[in-house]
């Protein structure tokens, strides 16, 4: 009986969707990207850290609460999964996954990045909130790796977004990634995790590099 209801329901839904589509008429295509009512066009600003012990305290908290954006950009994503398992248990370090860039503080570039992915990487990176940190995983992000001469894969991620920690290997093992996290924590605690401000400072350079490879740049310069 339940399946009957579902079937009927699906039909009515499809019917109503059809009506809506018809009512909308010809699909007018994507809206204009330079429309200020649709996109905020403000540039990123350098956010000055506090000083002294207070900032150290905050950095300690930041270092011990690393929320990783759940965006597997390349084959490295498969190495991130075991991190949460009982064998590696990254949660000991305060590492946790987060499904939305708004709430994340660490972005792991999981290996090769095609131009198409790069566009999404940049968007997601810009939607994260300052302070934010990037870990680049594997040789592809460092020099292109095995895709060094590919027509569609970038060679160096740091030309497009600032990177805090590189982890070499093809692919690096979860242990290496854990080591990368520890390294990142050290950097943050030492007050050197300010790459977000660096990005804001050298925004034009980064943007020019991004636009050089991303041809159809259908969004504002900074994607809030």
């Amino acid at each position: 009986m339940s399946t009957d209801i579902n079937k009927e329901d699906t039909q009515t839904q499809q019917e109503s969707i059809r009506q809506v589509v018809e009512a909308m008429g010809e699909y007018p295509g994507a809206a204009d990207a330079s429309d200020p009512q649709l996109f905020c066009e403000a540039r990123p600003k350098v956010e000055k850290p506090f000083r002294g012990v207070f900032e150290k305290f905050l950095n300690w908290a930041r270092a011990n609460s690393l929320w990783v954006l759940g965006f597997g950009t390349g084959c490295g994503a498969i190495e991130l999964r075991p991190l949460m398992t009982s064998r590696f248990d990254a949660s000991r370090f305060g590492v946790a996954g987060r499904p939305t860039p708004r709430q994340s503080s660490v972005f792991i570039i999981g290996g090769y990045a095609s131009v198409k992915t790069l566009k999404r990487i940049v968007r997601s990176y810009e939607q994260m909130q300052n302070p934010k940190f990037v870990i680049a995983l594997g040789s592809c992000t460092i020099n292109g790796g095995m895709y060094w001469d590919s027509y569609n894969t970038i060679n160096r991620i740091d030309q497009y977004i600032p990177v805090d920690v590189y982890i070499t290997g093809c692919m690096p093992r979860p242990e290496a990634i854990l080591a990368g996290f520890v390294k990142l924590q050290e950097l943050i605690k030492a007050g050197r995790g300010e790459k977000a401000n660096e990005y804001a400072e050298h925004f034009d350079w980064y943007k020019a590099n991004q636009k050089k490879v991303i041809k159809d740049w259908d969004m504002p310069d900074y994607n809030w």
Binding site: K116, W148, S150, Y151, N152, T153, N155, R156, V213
Partner: protein, 202 residues
């Protein structure tokens, strides 16, 4: 077994003979290049390739699908024979009852990238053919007029160069000029490495 089909056959040779009778391909000939129209080649007892003209291809494929039981389009791909100025399209079809495969190869003109090569679309025979054709359009610049969304790229958003799978496109050079190669990178190509190892003089 396959009584539901107008032309029944039991092995691949037989099928080729029928195709010869119908005039799609020439009788058995010498070894020829794959792009020669009328060529036939039996690869194994369940796999054969035939080469037909672009105009006859659709007719043959339809025949194979509806009368010989090749109901499944395994793949549609292209090979760039730049030396002969031709793309060779391969439609690989599969017969589920006899587990036979037949590759219908169609040489088409390989015009310059701007002018574009073109072939009749078969998306109405197999819906998934549209996807293959979209890919061929993106990667080789082969147009399939009428194929759904054929102009939308899968991956090369905003690509404005020669389609990258064409052999005149130099991917290494493109990569070097576009993607900020990291200085100091060294390759360890096994062939080079061994040559240096064995014949350091050369």
């Amino acid at each position: 077994m396959n009584t539901s089909y107008q032309y029944s056959y039991t092995n691949i040779e037989e099928l080729l003979e029928i195709l010869v009778e119908k005039g799609f391909i020439a009788p058995a000939t010498e070894q020829q290049h794959a792009t020669v129209i009328g060529r036939r080649q039996v690869q194994s007892s369940d796999l054969a390739f035939v080469t037909v003209a672009p105009e006859a291809a659709r007719h043959l494929i339809l025949d194979l699908r509806d009368r010989f039981g090749f109901t499944h389009l395994v793949l549609l791909t292209a090979v760039d024979y730049i030396e002969e100025g031709k793309f060779l399209l391969t439609y690989l079809l599969h017969n589920y009852e006899l587990h036979h495969d037949i590759g219908v190869q169609v040489p088409i003109g390989r015009e310059a990238a701007e002018a574009g090569a073109s072939m009749e679309s078969i998306h109405d025979l197999w819906a998934q053919a549209g996807t293959y054709q979209r890919e061929l359009k993106e990667m080789f610049g082969i147009d399939f007029p009428g194929s759904p969304r054929v102009d939308e790229p899968f991956i090369l958003e905003g690509w404005d160069e020669v389609p990258p799978m064409r052999r005149e496109f130099d991917t290494k050079q493109y990569s070097e000029t576009t993607y900020f190669p990291r200085p100091g990178r060294s390759t360890n190509d096994p062939a080079d490495y061994m040559r240096q190892k064995l014949y350091p003089k050369e």
